[in-house]
Symmetry: C2
Subunit: 359 residues, 2 copies
């Protein structure tokens, strides 16, 4: 029986994508070869890479000012690569600290130039997106984490500033339209809305590059990968292929506006289940900061003894990946693009049944 | 019809591995979930990672002095990461230049400390492995590329030196036993004998680390990945799984001694076909340097007009990936572990038939 997969990442992808990807591992496009054994410079794979790039451009409405790269090393590598390529002693990187990933980005950037944390919600264990803080002039960029997978918060509007943004969009890219012209750089580990683990999307504005004087190893210089169309060395063929299939699915299902409507409907159902059941509490302070992608919730104070029984009920109903991250505790239901409203209804029903039994 | 895949990389893997990998993309171990959508911290995937590590240790006979890491970024990232982690201004990295990949390793290392190229076969377009050169004392390490995929040469014996070696073994790791105690570090892109593109194996001697003073970004410091068992961030789940399956196959088929016997039999057949057919010449100067993994050959002078007809005949016989690299021209038959002797016989038969027709 296929599970309802609420995992935070690696995460659910569309079922037809799994079917097509499995077939490609057996035999790719009738070539008599597995996708895993063909050259990354074969016309069959370069067509995949090209289509993936065009789909990213098309879905996000990117102008020609931007390049699209498929790299390796995860968002964790982008924490230092962004600063290594964009920041030096003459500039200053602004950062908004909204969770564990923001904090890691700040730490890695500090080795490459001055860093100013312009706002942070750390004191409240990141249960909100900071708002109304002053943003100093003269920043090289302002770095944000648009969705905080662990803490269940999400920017619903971009910070108001003339400074270009750099953003970690790992967990909400392709979940809704974005005003990409506001950004110098967007990066995202694939393993939420885009594909399986093993490929990292980087979207970079060409005119932001080439401004720092330091030595950058060839593989860490975005210009290397721009020049070679993400094939300076062997790219992660299979993760890119599965990402391409997933983006095709997003497009065929109406693109980012349709994803947004779909995701908001699921989030509404999920948060209603949290709010209407007296045994549960959402962990995010303000409703407007609640993530559409990751709904975090907990048992009310004094009923923490029900942790295991609730997870057991989830398992019985075929809902997997509901356990929360250790930094927050409790539960987390991730509602990425590929998840159906029907699956969220199953979890909501479990919550109602649970409340009836234990409240 | 399944092709005979002579591609240099990404390359042939065992057919049962493709079958199992395809099934895991549909449903992993009966979990009701695809391997692509499960958490990298789930017990099901950590078991994969553990088994992959144990298989590497077991097959190569690694002592406890070594750590086994599964990273991203390919051997191209290791060109700079090795030097960044091991070399500084107080030391000196020795390099043997045996081809394009060695040359790239030399270029990337130079940013991190003094580099001495102790021998090179560049003047002869890398058609041999240098021998009999003096190796200076006091090197921090001596870097070699054990098999040169492009030029079809391979070390049959390691350089005689008390200095520890650092080696790019991308294209011959797991093809034969290796005296691993001679090395401080071994790295290999997976996409030849180990698995699909998207994961890089690093084997590092613990006591070689921590000796350089520079700042190393967290993701580029081998110690990060040692400490976190290759799961500091999300590892490339699918490429690691397929690598584990491939290493299981290597073990089930007798381990590295059996692979060596199997590979040498294929190479013997292949080089006999090259040497016995008057239309073809091997491109490597000395027979003892000929690679067991990649047999490079060309049409004799004056018969270059037969290039397309030969490739056509190969295609008709179901032999793919036989076209040589542009740096050498001609043809290349890669004979990695997973290739059967029967497939090599098919190509040898094509060569004989071709000679009969055109000689």
């Amino acid at each position: 029986m296929k599970k309802h997969n609420f995992s935070a990442g690696p995460a659910i992808l569309p079922q037809p994508v799994f079917e097509q990807a499995a077939e490609a591992v057996r035999d790719f496009n009738g070539m008599g070869l597995s996708l895993l054994e063909i050259s990354h410079r074969s016309p069959q794979f370069t067509a995949v890479l090209d289509e993936a790039q065009v789909l990213v451009r098309d879905l996000l409405g990117l102008s020609d000012a931007y390049e699209v790269l498929f790299l390796q090393g995860g968002a964790s590598s982008q924490f230092f690569m962004t600063a290594m390529n964009l920041l030096d002693e003459k500039g200053k990187g602004g950062y908004v600290d909204t969770g564990s990933w923001s904090a890691k980005a700040i730490k890695e950037a500090q080795a490459f130039g001055p860093v100013e944390v312009v706002a942070s919600s750390k004191a409240s264990n990141y249960n909100a997106i900071p708002k109304g803080y002053p943003i100093p002039d003269g920043l090289t960029y302002l770095h944000i984490t648009t969705n905080n997978t662990i803490f269940g918060t999400q920017y619903k509007a971009l910070p108001e500033t003339a400074t270009r943004l750099v953003a970690d969009m790992s967990s909400d890219i392709f979940s809704k339209p974005v005003d990409t012209e506001r950004f110098d750089l967007i990066y995202a580990g694939a393993q939420k809305n885009m594909g399986p683990a093993g490929v990292t999307l980087v979207i970079v504005r060409k005119d932001a590059l080439g401004k720092v004087g330091r030595h950058i190893p060839t593989m860490l210089d975005y210009r290397t990968h721009i020049k070679k169309g993400s094939s300076f060395n062997t790219p992660p063929v299979f993760p890119i292929y599965v990402s391409m299939l997933t983006l095709r699915w997003v497009k065929a299902n109406g693109g980012l506006k349709a994803m947004q409507a779909r995701n908001e409907a699921k989030a509404k159902l999920m948060y209603e289940a949290i709010d209407s059941n007296p045994l549960f509490d959402g962990t995010v302070a303000a409703a407007e900061d609640r993530s559409v992608m990751n709904a975090t919730f907990n048992l009310i104070e004094g009923r923490e003894d029900l942790f295991a029984p609730f997870l057991e009920l989830c398992e019985e109903a075929g809902c997997s990946g509901v356990k929360g991250h250790r930094s927050v505790g409790g539960f987390r239901a991730s509602l990425y693009n590929a998840m159906d409203l029907e699956s969220v209804q199953v979890l909501a029903d479990v919550m109602h049944a649970f409340t009836e039994k234990y409240a």
